[in-house]
Symmetry: C2
Subunit: 122 residues, 2 copies
């Protein structure tokens, strides 16, 4: 079973964290979704954190996980912090493989999304 | 002439700001782009700031501007800071109309983008 772990920054504002959780649910409900489950996690300021998110995937039966950084820029969070958290989790030898995908901002489709989004006024 | 003003947060890391500038160029080069120009601006930490970005659009001939917040969550930056900067610019009665579009994270297409992006490993 393959799971998607959607990793966002996390916010002090619960509404912003709930937006991420709802996004995870929307990804899971897409017809094109071929993951067996989608779990959201937060680098900081909200729960589950990355370790808890990985544990949740394992509890739900994941044998492999794709960890996707939901970040716009390749700053320290994407380059160091998220890989560091995942390396930390792997050091505990969990019964699961974890790969890190591209971060959101690097997507080839971002320019089209920006153009589409800019047309939605108000 | 209608311009897109793509507003990002801005980073101390020049590479992250350059990513935004390159994204603006990619949006401008899309076949589906119907703006007469695309200008990038930053809320803080980088230039042009929002006031400078609006001035640049006007210099380039813009009669109307769509300001798009390139932000993932509807935090204070999206709810207060960007509208405040634009209200401040409009108080100077520039010869241009400005509308604020949806912010990136609210796009209906985001779930599909997440799914696609998660498939790009390494």
């Amino acid at each position: 079973m393959k799971f998607l772990l959607l990793i966002a920054h996390g916010s002090r504002r619960q509404g912003a964290n709930d937006e991420i959780r709802q996004l995870g649910e929307r990804v899971a409900s897409l017809d094109a979704n071929d993951y067996d489950g989608v779990v959201t996690a937060f680098l900081e300021l909200a729960e589950p954190d990355i370790q808890q998110g990985i544990a949740k995937c394992v509890e739900l039966g994941a044998q492999s996980i794709v960890a996707m950084p939901y970040f716009l820029a390749s700053g320290n969070h994407v380059i160091k912090d998220i890989p560091g958290e995942i390396a930390c989790a792997m050091a505990g030898k969990p019964p699961v493989d974890i790969e890190i995908s591209q971060y959101l901002g690097s997507s080839d489709l971002m320019a089209s999304l920006v153009l589409d989004c800019s047309r939605q006024i108000g």
